[in-house]
């Protein structure tokens, strides 16, 4: 029995949605997972308190992203914009809920986005969000960064649209967190799809040992996996490995000694597959 199995049951999923393409991709994935585990899906839209504050400055002006024009930026305007966003997010959730026949709820919060999300995450088993929100950058956004560093729950971060049923790569270093990662990978894996275990070992012998450990667990769970080991594996190489394997979801142990938080952030910045941080 893997130590992570008991905790791996997913009953409640939180998805952070701000209507950006990345967050909608996160919503789709959340829908898939909620349907798979018959879990409750909770959507949250956080109205950024920073924006509301800016609007109170009399000199605040908004520079149009596409037009590059200056627009007045005041409280009523930002209130309207945020309400419109929230409605649009709610509609998306409604559609998804109906389509996938899910139990779902939606709420709007107001505050500092990471703070609100961390608080909301405490009530759920898994939190799903986009990597960089509206900026759409390859680099990890501030919200995702905070969640990587501080979330106590399993966290799935998406940069593009990924659905269940894509190849899964899981990084395994033999730690407790890695075992949880193996269990988490099992949850997001679909039968008949590649399941690749990337062994995080410095020496071949150690890799062999890790392989034996992981194999046992996987055999118990009737998963036919492929193993891969590379010497001197660092964050950038892990990211490259996922690209080469056509990986859809990369599962990383969040609290492993072998992979620091900064390494996780680097991997997230380099790869375009979804990253599930197993805790």
């Amino acid at each position: 029995m893997n130590p992570g199995d008991r905790e791996q049951e997913i009953r409640r999923i939180l998805v952070a949605v701000d209507a950006s393409p990345q967050s909608l991709a996160a919503l789709e994935m959340a829908g898939d997972l909620a349907a798979r585990f018959q879990a409750d899906l909770i959507g949250i839209y956080v109205e950024d308190i920073n924006l509301l504050r800016v609007a109170e400055f009399h000199f605040a002006r908004e520079v149009g992203y596409y037009s590059a024009n200056l627009h007045p930026f005041d409280s009523p305007l930002i209130e309207l914009q945020l309400r419109a966003r929230a409605r649009s997010v709610q509609r998306a959730m409604e559609n998804l809920g109906k389509r996938a026949n899910l139990r779902w709820s939606f709420r709007t919060a107001r505050g500092f986005i990471p703070v609100e999300l961390l608080a909301a995450a405490l009530e759920v088993d898994l939190i799903i969000l986009g990597k960089s929100g509206w900026s759409g950058r390859r680099r990890i956004g501030s919200t995702a960064r905070v969640l990587v560093l501080e979330s106590q729950r399993q966290t799935l971060i998406l940069q593009r649209r990924v659905r269940l049923g894509t190849p899964v790569v899981v990084a395994y270093d033999g730690s407790t967190a890695a075992k949880k990662a193996l269990a988490a990978a099992r949850l997001v894996w679909s039968e008949g799809i590649n399941f690749i275990v990337l062994l995080l070992a410095k020496e071949p012998e150690q890799a062999e040992r890790l392989k034996a450990e992981a194999s046992q667990y996987l055999e118990e769970n009737e998963i036919e996996a492929r193993f891969s080991w590379q010497p001197n594996l660092d964050a950038a190489r892990i990211a490259r490995f996922t690209q080469l394997e056509g990986c859809g979801i990369l599962v990383l142990p969040a609290t492993s000694e072998k992979i620091s938080n900064e390494a996780v952030i680097t991997v997230l910045g380099e790869t375009d597959c979804a990253v599930l941080l197993a805790r």
Binding site: F57, F59, A60, V63, A68, Q81, W134
Partner: protein, 824 residues
Amino acid sequence: MARVNSLTPEVLYRHTDPELFQFETTEELEDFSEIIGQPRAVEAVRFGIGIEKDGFNLFALGPSGAGKRSLLNRFFGQQAAQEPVPDDWCYVHNFEHDYKPKVIRLPAGTGLQFQQDMAHLVEELRTAISTAFESDEYRARRQIAEEDVQQRQEKILEEMQDKAKERQLSLLRTPAGLVFAPMRDGEVMHPEEFQKLPAEERENLEKSVAEMQEQLQKMLQLVPAWQREVRQRVRELDRETTNYAVGGLIIELKEKYANFPLVLAYFDAVQKDVVENSENFRHIEDQSGEGLEGQLAAMMSRNRQEPNTQKKYSVNLLVDHHDSKGAPVVFEDNPTYQNLIGRVEYLAQMGALITDFTLIKPGALHQANGGYLILDAREVLQQPYAWEALKRALLSRRIVIESIGQMLSLISTVSLEPEPIPLDVKVALLGDRWMYYLLALYDPEFDELFKVQADFEEQMDRNPESQILYARVIATLTRRDGLRPFHREAVARVIEHSARLAGDAEKVSIQVKLILDLMREADFWASQNGNPAIQAADVQRAIDAQIFRADRLRERYHESILRETILIDTQGEKVGQINGLSVIQLGGFTFGTPSRITARVRLGKGEVINIEREVEMSGPIHSKGVLILSGFLGARYAAERPLSLSASLVFEQSYSGVEGDSASSAELYALLSAIAEVPIKQSLAATGSVNQHGQVQAIGGVNEKIEGFFDICQARGLTGDQGVMIPASNVKHLMLRQDVIEAVRAGKFHVYPVTTIDEGIEVLTGLLAGEPDESGNYPEDSINGKVQKRLLELAEKREEFDRPKDGHEDTGKNPGSERQESEA
């Protein structure tokens, strides 16, 4: 005493002797594969087929059922089998002008290959282009292009962020853009806190924000140009990638079709178009979006895009000869405008009518191009604009597909103008004679286009050889139609009936349709009677049944006579009254019936009044016949003095007009009887036309006329005096019914052949006609003498009336004389 003798039964019907045939049933006979009785038409068709000059199309004229179509089919078929298979014709998309599809001509069978090759190419393109666009090379190059602008954008924002930080500001993203805000401890400064700042600091911050905004604006203004640049680079990359994917596939095809410049040009156009529109071949991302509306829109977009791509590069194989042998022979039985020259069909899509080159459908001219086309002239003329379209195609030697609406400028829907196709076809029209003559008369282009007339006979000579051939035709038809074989006596009966149909004992009808109908009916009766071979009795039963089915009106008509609603005497004698005979044709059935003709005379100026003509119920030929009577009377009896009678002639109880001159002899007999005041035997009926010299001339429908009078007499009881007088020249046409012949044989009915009026009047009155002496006078007791005498009396009376009574000159035109004349 009468000089004319009644005809013997033998001449009333010319039998075909079954002994003529050397077989028991037609089963023993071989098929007859030649054309019977149409040497002229056969020669014309051979000539028409042989000559390859413009306008030597054929017009087969003759009655329906004369075998026009089967003859043409056979001759065209024989010729076509020796000729090469014509080319295939394809329509393809015109990439320069959508509405003008291009035509491509390819050798027979190549069209289908070309069509399949293009369909295959589209499939291949889909795979090849998708593969090319999914390749790592493409992705990498595209990513580089896109990444470039992305990075530049990110760089701007990072720079701005950094600069902002230096000034204790932060760059925040709003739903619509970007804002700068003063920061403290990683948060946007609270406005109240801001107010607490020294004024100078506040001013500095505000100033910084304004400057940063200005800088950001300047930077962001560069972005659209970068994006354009990226799009341009991606487009170039797409083109390059597609060209590479398409080029290889098209080169293979170009080698295959190297001998066809039009096809090569088409391939070039396809390649260019595919490169320009490569997105049509790439996998369409699922754009289902949110909700039902999004899914529907995505589905509709896919539905529109995929078939359109397939269609655009497909080949409309208009004429396909891949499995043809020889040149085509086409018979179009519904030659509408569109069925002749082809049409462009439309599809209803979202409430609008749309079309494209794949909806061009061929017409009979396309199908027959390079071969032969047979059309029914009446059908072509009945269809609006079909005749004009056929002529235009033949004259211009090309087929232009144009809708009637377009032609008449009635509709303004966007339609196609397919490139015309050169036409090389031999057309044969089938039609009645009158149609040919009308077309020749009224259509100036007809002579130019249909220079060969194939004139079909309705009948042929009846002699032992032709009757043996006829038997073989019957044998062939029985086998072709799956009928029982005909016993030789049945064959003889068919031939006799055929002679009756021809209305001539010395001819037989070659209107195969009529004979075949009789044979089919005889076969039915044979089956009813359980005869393995069709007997003469079955044929007779079929003839009787045909007559019975058709003769309701004849029966009603004769019933009216027998019930004396229509007055016809068949015994006794009357002055100025005679039984004429007329023929009524209804559909395919003809019957004869007697009509009473009466004449009255009085003093007058020599006119014979045709009462029918006065009320415009007389046809021109009938009127002419009556006028001839005046000529005859004047010349024979009043050459030296004025003809001083006024006679009136009428068909009694005639309500529907009279046409033809076959009653003119009867009218003359009635007139002579009235003038001479000598009664005519009502037991006789007369037919025949007459000329100014008193000769009796042949008429039509002689058999029906005799039978018509016979039926009335028989119904009333034959007296032995009754009979019909016919022109002697009609004796050869006699093919009378068996019951008439039997009555003649028994002496109960008579048929008198006459050559002159004198012979006829003798038969009718029993008096001699009389010959003139040297001074032109006829014996007093002869009919002619009595006529002459009466006319003389009338002339003298008139002279007396015309003489001035009180010594004044009278022109004879005063009202008094007119009044006295009419009273006389």
